[in-house]
Symmetry: C2
Subunit: 128 residues, 2 copies
């Protein structure tokens, strides 16, 4: 029956076998998911990657392949590496901010110590 074919078998215009390697990870209601990985990796490479993995890891692999493929389609030059670069820059910025703030703390603490030396609390405030 045509309607029971997975998205991959529909895309490849073939019968969907009962042990189809794609079927559990590329449901017929999400044709774009397979279209992405097919365009970037090709059906045979995706099938090989999934086949070589234990069954319990295939779903995650299909998800990450689909994610990378969609990014490569959006950005054929950098793909998902663009995100890596952006995140890396964000981390550098956060670390710079941390270093600046730690330096700020050191200054405040040093000033605090100088104040304590200059104004030791000899005359604690009295209650009214």
């Amino acid at each position: 029956m045509n309607s029971s074919r997975c998205a991959a078998c529909k895309h490849l215009r073939r019968r969907c076998p009962s042990d189809c390697i794609f079927s559990p990870y590329f449901p017929s209601n999400n044709p774009q998911r397979f279209a992405f990985v097919h365009k970037i990796y090709g059906a045979s490479n995706v099938g090989k990657i999934l086949q070589d993995l234990p069954v319990n890891l295939r779903s995650k692999a299909a998800d990450t392949l689909c994610y990378e493929a969609s990014r490569r389609i959006e950005d054929p030059v950098y793909g998902v590496v663009r995100e890596l670069t952006n995140l890396d820059e964000e981390i550098q910025k956060a670390h710079c901010q941390l270093a600046r703030i730690r330096a700020q703390i050191a200054v405040i603490q040093a000033r605090d110590e100088v104040d304590n030396v200059n104004n030791p609390n000899f005359f604690p405030p009295q209650n009214d």
Copy 2:
């Protein structure tokens, strides 16, 4: 001549044409670079991605494809997405550290203000 074939044409055991799409980006002295992208994407998909790009962007695309392919070979389940997840966690940690340190600064500054109110500098220290 065999020695003038690029890594892709050597890998594919074919003649390397003068306008080979792979040749500028897959030199014969680095056969692994092509082996990686061939295993994950297939030669035809890599060729298509490069062909569809302006010449000045192809080298960067070949680099990022090679990077993603090498990560997928190392980690067939997550590929380069593992790094994205790790970087994302690192950013969350850095932001938490920043928030904690900012809170620390606020406490120090508040204490500083209380100290200034309680110990106004009425008796500035005298020089000896």
